[in-house]
Every structure is written in C-alpha cells, then in structure tokens.
C-alpha cells in the first residue's frame, strides 16, 4: 500500500496541471520586484493568473524556439529591443499587438505588430565634473568616444553585454559597418582598463577616479542615488554627472524593455490584455518610480530622482528604428570582436 501511494505521489508530481486555466505565461528576462508587483495587481484586477519563468534572455529564447509550435509561452519580456527584434527575425513571434490602446500609447518607432516597448532607458555618458570640463564635453556624441583625447579615460562594459550590442548596432545603422569598425578600434584604444563589471561598476569607476567618463544606462545612477544600494554608493553617485550625447543631431540612443507576442501563444487574448495593462498610466508610474526607467507613454513623468539629476529635456533618438538593433546585432558583435573589445 505504502509503495502504491509513493508511486502515486511521484506520478502526480510529474504530471503538470493540464487543465486549461485563465492564465498568461510569461518568459521573463526582466527581474525587478516592481514587475512582480504589477503582475499581482493584474491578477487581482482581471482574475488572470500570471505564470512566470525567469531567466536570462538567451536561454529563454532557446526554450521558446526549441518548443516551437508547442511552446507554452504567450509573452516574452526582456530588457533590450535587439532581443525582441532577433526573435522576430527567427519567426518566433506573431502579430496581434495592434489594439488601439497599444497604438495610441506607444510611438511608432518603439513598436511593431509583434512586440512593443513597455519602458524606456537611454544609454548615456557619465563624467567626473572634477576632471572633465564643460568645454571638453560640449557637443559630445557616441561617435566622439573614439576621439584620442579620451585616451586612458573611458570605461565601458564588455562587448558581450546586450546594451553595448544594441548601441553599436544603432551606430552601424546610422554610420555604416565600416565606419563603426574604425570607431570600435578608437574606443578600445581609449579604454582606461579591460572591460569588467556591470553598468553600475562603470559609474563607480568614474566616482573612484579610475576613469573620467563611463557609458551606462540612465536608471543606474538614479538607483544609486535612491540609497537602495547603500549610503556609500549614494555618496559615490553624487560625484558623477550625466551627459546626454548627440543632442545636436539624431538624439540620445534609446532602448526599451519590450514585450513580444510568441507565435502559437495559447493565451493570446490574455497576453494582449497584459500588455495593455502595462501601458496604463498607473503601471507606467509604477515602473518609473521603482525601476527608474523612462515612461513609454506621454503624460507620465519620470521619477523625481531621474528628473532632478539627469534632466528631463533631452532629445531622444526617435528616428533610428529599434527593430534595427536586432538586425545589426551579429554585425555589432563582429565589429567589436575584431577591434579587440573584450
């Protein structure tokens, strides 16, 4: 008898619930506490259960692709437009994010019918006001990072980092592959150290005097200033200032966290509902106040920490289509590797 009950227990554990439920399945590569709070709110409002599988973007994409038409994934949410674009290129997505609510909320260059941006971030330059003068920075562009005057003064993450891949992909889109290859060599020559650490580590390297300028995303400085990372980092963040490049031409490089509709999604309607929910002013406000990203929709302002310390009035690059990040990603990796960008 004992044996049978153990056996029954084991089998029941293996067989996952097959019953069709009112749910939506998210393959999630964004792991902010704020997100799970929003999902609970969504469940409370609609009764739709949100199932999550968390992971890094690459591994999640592989699972969606290997599962193919049988995938249980409805939405794929990740923090880089290049990843959504790449999934689209592989034919893993389907159209359907075309409701009026979505189209009205999100500017055209930040969405396709298969994926939409849900929160914005800019990849900008941080500098030490003690060691970098206003004149030196005046008119500074991403292209200018290769200028020999920054020799031994620049820190930036590894080439394997997804935000760098998207930034370089946007440069390839705007300046061509050949010019970008030359640019990458210049950047590598200017590096103050072999790339190491995350975005926050780059900002702290400037604060600690290891370098004069750093490239990192906007929300990291706000995160440090918020005190959520401790008093030391809060003090460090105050030693660094933000600069938005390319203000005199196309604008600062923007990236998004995006939600993509997976082909064969078993709960397509619920998935669309969730995306619409994430684009409501309440959800957007929740994002801006907790993850310190920029809102995707008009009418919501960024967190005061972002506004006061980074400034609000900067020209965003609204011209370069985010879909090009995915298309040029392989070329970006090639260019950076060839330049010896670790």
């Amino acid at each position: 008898m004992k044996k049978i009950s153990i056996l029954a227990l084991i089998t029941s554990l293996f067989v996952s619930a097959i019953a069709v439920a009112n749910e939506v399945n998210i393959f999630n590569a964004r792991h902010y506490k704020a997100d799970s709070e929003l999902y609970s709110k969504f469940t409370n409002m609609t009764g739709i259960k949100v199932n999550l599988i968390n992971g890094k973007s690459g591994a999640l994409e592989k699972r969606i692709l290997s599962e193919g038409a049988d995938s249980s994934a409805d939405l794929y949410i990740t923090a880089d437009a290049g990843r959504c674009g790449a999934m689209d290129a592989k034919g893993a997505l389907q159209g359907g994010l075309t409701s009026a609510a979505i189209k009205d909320a999100v500017p055209k260059s930040f969405r396709t019918s298969k994926w939409v941006g849900i929160a914005k971030r800019a990849r900008i330059i941080y500098y030490s006001p003690e060691r970098v003068s206003g004149a030196e920075l005046s008119g500074m562009t991403y292209e200018g990072l290769a200028d020999p005057k920054w020799k031994g003064r620049l820190v930036i993450r590894k080439s394997s980092n997804i935000y760098n891949k998207s930034l370089v992909a946007s440069l390839i889109k705007n300046n061509g592959k050949k010019a970008t290859a030359e640019w990458a060599k210049g950047v590598v020559a200017n590096m103050a150290r072999t790339p190491t650490g995350n975005d926050r580590a780059q900002i702290m390297a400037v604060a600690a005097g290891e370098a004069d300028i750093a490239v990192a995303n906007t929300y990291y400085l706000a995160l440090m200033l918020s005190g959520k990372k401790g008093a030391e980092q809060q003090a460090a963040a105050k030693k660094v200032k933000a600069f938005f490049p390319n203000q005199n031409d196309r604008g600062t490089h923007m990236n998004v966290s995006c939600a993509a509709l997976v082909k064969g999604a078993p709960n397509k309607a619920n998935a669309v509902k969730l995306v619409e929910f994430l684009l409501t002013p309440e959800s957007q406000e929740h994002f801006t106040n907790n993850t310190f990203e920029f809102p995707m929709i008009d009418g919501v302002s960024p967190s005061p920490l972002v506004v006061n310390n980074l400034g609000l009035d900067f020209k965003q690059d609204m011209k370069t289509k985010l879909a090009s990040y995915g298309k040029n990603q392989a070329a970006a990796v090639e260019v950076m590797t060839a330049a010896g960008w670790k």
Partner: protein
C-alpha cells in the same frame, strides 16, 4: 546469449541508454557545417576559450593542491589549537558554491564595497578605492573556484594520510629524515593516488564551472558553448566546442579512474598498521599551523558567509520579498525526488552486477557513470536538442502528439537530466559500500534459506545504510548548489535558492542575491555538519 537477458540487464541497459544519448548528440553534430557565424572570429574564439580554460584549470589545480594537501597534512599529523575543529570545519567550504563566492568577492572588494565601508568607518572619509585590490575577471574566477573546491583534495588526501602506515613514517625517522624530508619523500608520494583523484575531481568541476565564470564574464570552453549556442544560434559550433571540452574531460576521467584504483589498493593494504600518533607542535609552529588552517577556514567559509549575512542585515527588505518557505520546499522536493530515483537505480545496477557477474553488464554500468564528466550546461543543451529532434523526426512522423511538453519545463525533464549528471555519484558511492560486504555473506544467507530478495532487504540494505546516507548527502549537496540545468529546464513559477540568487545577481541586484545565497549556504552547511563523520570516513572502519 539469452540467459543474460534478465531484469538486471534491462535496467542497466536502460540507465546507460539515457546517459549515452546526450554524449552521442554532441559527437554526432561534430562534423556538421557551422553556420551563421564568421569563420575567422570562430577561430579567434576557439583559441581564446581554450586558453582561458587552460589558464583557469592550471591555476585552480595549483591552488587547490597547496590548500588541500597543506591543510590535510597539518590536521592529520599534528596537534595544535583547534586542530580537531578544523578537521571537519574545513569541509564546510563545500557549502559555498563558486558563484556565491564570486558574489562575495565582488561585494567586498568592488569600488565603494564592504572593504571601503570598513576602512571608512575605521579611518574616516578618504579615497580608499584605488588602494583596495580588485578580485574580478580571471583572478576572481580562480579564487572563487579554488576556495569552493579544495575540499575534494582535502577530504581524499586526509583519508589517505589517515591510513598511512606508521611503520613507514617511523622508518623515515630512523633513517634520520626531518619532518620536511619525510613529507616530501614518504608521506606525499604514498598519498599520490588520493591527491590525483582529488585534483581530477577539481579539474572536472573547474572545466564544467558555469556560474562564477559567467558572472565574471570569462569566456571558457563551457561558457563559450553556452554563448555560441545562445548568442550566435550556432549549435554546431557549440557542439564542436563541447567536443574539445569532452576530450579534455575524458582524459581527466580516465586519470581519475586509474588513480582511484591505485588508491583502493593502497587503502586495502592497511590492515595491521598501528594507529598513528599525532605530534604536538612547539608554540611557534603550532601558531603557524593554526594560522594556516584558520585562514583557509576563514577564506573558504566565514568570509562568504559573513558577507552574505552582512548584506542581508544591511538590506533587510530583500528578506521579506522572498518566499523562503516556497524556495525551501522546491529545493527539498528536488533533492528528495532525485535522491530516491538515483539511489534506487544505482542499487538495482549494483545488485545486478553482484548477483549476475556479467561482463556486458559491468561495461554498461561503467559507461553510465560518464555523465558526471559532462558539464551541466552541455547536458541541458544536448537534452533539449535531442528531445526536439526526436519529437520532430519520430514522434510526429508516427502521428503522435508532441512529447516536448513532457520534457521541457517539467520536473520530469529536470530530474532526468540531474539523473544523467549525478548517476556516477550514486553508483560509485553504493558500489564502494557493496565492496565492503564480503560475497561469502550472501552465500551464507542462501545456505540459511534466504531468498535473493530477502538477502537484499535484510542483509544488504542494513550493511549499506551508511553508504546510502552518504550518497544521499552528496546528491543533496550537488542539487542544492546546481545551477545551469535547473536554470534551463525548470517549470513555470519554480525557483530554487540557486536560481533566485543567480537571477538577482545577473540583474545587478547583488544585494538581493545575498538572501537566497545565505540560505543556500546555511542549508548546505547543515547537511554537511550532520554527516561530517561519514564524509570524513572516520567512522567507516
């Protein structure tokens, strides 16, 4: 021929088949054309990955050798303050997986990290950052892996020292050897098989290491496989890298097996030796020995533990964000399910080998322990590749429903790949237990009219109790710490301490990673403490 075909044969065949599948998948795609990527860059990467792997391997082996044999030598031969405490406390290092060690290193030494805070509180505000050494990248990976894995060398070497012949050492003394000379010319050489066995385990784990090197973005063959599969969609290139890696690993595997055989011979010949007496060290030497062991204990266990504890206290909100009960239940669930299945099948195979004494069966079981030599990342990738292929070409062609859902993102798939990876732990553990039961015991039992089943249940199992417990603990420790397989194959809404820590860390939320890391260390340390006497083998005789 057909007399071989009994239940034991089929169960061994079944196990071997399951395990051989991922290996075959890797090898079969070796000759495929690699696509989507640029040949020249591939060659650059291949060179860089291989070089990094070798650099990591050599440095880790060197460090673990020094730390492992050094501390084992001190606690086995000498008496000094707390030497009996260090004897078991040093194995607590197993509770800290390399990736958590990596988080601790970063947290402590980074700009404005814990070291900075300590200096600031002691000496006031100043720019200490440029004076604090940075342990990241390759150096960080080497330290993380070494302090987490030296325990293999320590445990095996210590066991070998423990049974070394006192006569041999006395002989050295009579020949006028001082303690250095007897260490180099007697003690070390006779412990060689054990040291080699420990080092080859370290080597396999180092080559398979994923979490720490991924955290420090060091490209080794293993992370290269993962990245070329994921970033470049180049399964064929990933498999080619796997092939190179497997060549490395199989060489190690063979070395390990050979040295294990020798080690066994060595252990078996210990009967009749008199118990070794420990030397009491003079004050200054005792102090040095104490400092060495304390440093190892501090660096390998206390340091990561206190860094994680400090962060948990400093950022307490993370403690409340985490559903600890749920994580604990998930971890325990995986541990129990996998342990039961692994132990069950290893018992069957071992028992089958014992009663049937069949050469083919023996060969099959040797084959089926090779899973441990394959990194978890590769196993998971190969598993997905194989199931997807099998589903598309066979199951669907035959008109059946897709089987992918049964294996991807299910506990079944997860436990199956754990099974492949950790089968050798269970099999070898139980095998060494069986070797201690004389075959005459079985024959006497049959003479007394016991059936095979009764012999198994009433005689073997009680004899094997310690081995089973030991194997259970080993598997539990591995599964509590396991990262890549769980990460790739786990179901919806299913997290363990390891995956939670990894995901927070990869999102630049190291503070949030501290809480699951702390719990992981505590649980693993608890497991180690309650069974330290089995791990140290003090009790087995």
């Amino acid at each position: 021929m057909f007399r071989y075909l009994n239940i034991w044969f089929f169960s061994s065949l079944f196990v071997s088949l399951i395990i051989i599948v991922p290996i075959l998948t890797v090898f079969s795609s070796f000759f495929e054309n690699t696509t989507n990527y640029f040949e020249i860059l591939k060659n650059t990467f291949l060179f860089e990955y291989t070089l990094n792997s070798i650099c990591l391997l050599v440095s880790v082996l060197f460090l673990t050798f020094i730390i492992g044999t050094g501390s084992a030598y001190l606690v086995s031969f000498y008496e000094f303050p707390l030497s009996n405490f260090f004897k078991w406390a040093l194995i607590l290092s197993f509770a800290v997986p390399p990736y958590i060690y990596a988080y601790s290193l970063t947290a402590f030494f980074e700009n404005y990290g814990t070291a900075y805070t300590i200096l600031k509180n002691l000496f006031g505000e100043a720019n200490y950052n440029s004076h604090i050494p940075k342990f990241d990248g390759m150096l960080g990976s080497i330290l993380s892996i070494s302090f987490s894995l030296f325990g293999y060398v320590y445990i095996l070497t210590r066991a070998s020292f423990l049974y070394q012949s006192q006569q041999l050492i006395d002989l050295g003394k009579n020949l006028g050897f001082n303690s250095y000379k007897s260490f180099y010319s007697i003690i070390l050489p006779s412990a060689r098989p054990a040291i080699v066995a420990g080092l080859s385990l370290v080597a396999m784990e180092t080559l398979a290491e994923f979490g720490a090197v991924d955290f420090f973005s060091i490209n080794t063959l293993t992370t290269g496989i993962y990245n070329s599969w994921i970033a470049f969609d180049d399964l064929a290139f990933a498999n080619q890298l796997s092939f190179f890696l497997l060549l490395f690993i199989f060489a190690l595997f063979i070395i390990e097996n050979l040295s294990r055989r020798k080690a066994k011979y060595h252990f078996n010949s210990r009967g009749g030796f008199k118990r070794k007496e420990k030397f009491r060290l003079s004050k200054s030497k005792a102090l040095s020995a104490f400092i060495f062991c304390f440093l190892v204990f501090f660096l390998s266990f206390l340091f990561p533990l206190s860094q994680m504890l400090y962060w948990t206290i400093k950022f307490p909100e993370n403690l409340f964000d985490l559903d600890i009960i749920n994580l604990l239940l998930n971890t325990i669930y995986l541990v129990f399910l996998s342990s039961i299945i692994l132990i069950l099948f290893s018992l069957i195979s071992n028992y089958g080998n014992r009663v049937s004494n069949n050469k083919i069966l023996n060969l099959l079981s040797t084959l089926s322990i090779s899973g441990y030599a394959i990194p978890g990342v590769i196993l998971a990738v190969a598993f997905i590749t194989f199931i997807a292929w099998f589903d598309e070409t066979i199951i669907k062609t035959l008109g059946f429903l897709s089987i992918k859902k049964i294996f991807f993102g299910s506990i079944l798939g997860l436990v199956l790949v754990y099974f492949i990876r950790f089968y050798s732990l269970a099999f070898n553990g139980i095998k060494s237990g069986y070797e201690k039961i004389n075959i005459n015991v079985d024959e006497s039992a049959y003479l007394l009219g016991y059936s095979k089943r009764k012999t198994f249940i009433n005689i073997h199992i009680p004899f094997l109790r310690n081995s089973l417990l030991f194997v259970g603990i080993l598997i539990s420790l591995e599964i509590i710490r396991e990262l890549p397989i769980t990460l790739i194959l786990r179901p919806f809404n299913f997290e363990t301490f390891a995956t939670t820590a990894y995901i927070s860390a990869s999102e630049d939320l190291l503070e949030a990673a501290a809480v699951p890391s702390l719990f992981l260390i505590l649980i693993a340390a608890f497991f180690i403490m309650i069974t330290s006497k089995y791990i140290l083998r003090d009790n087995n005789e």
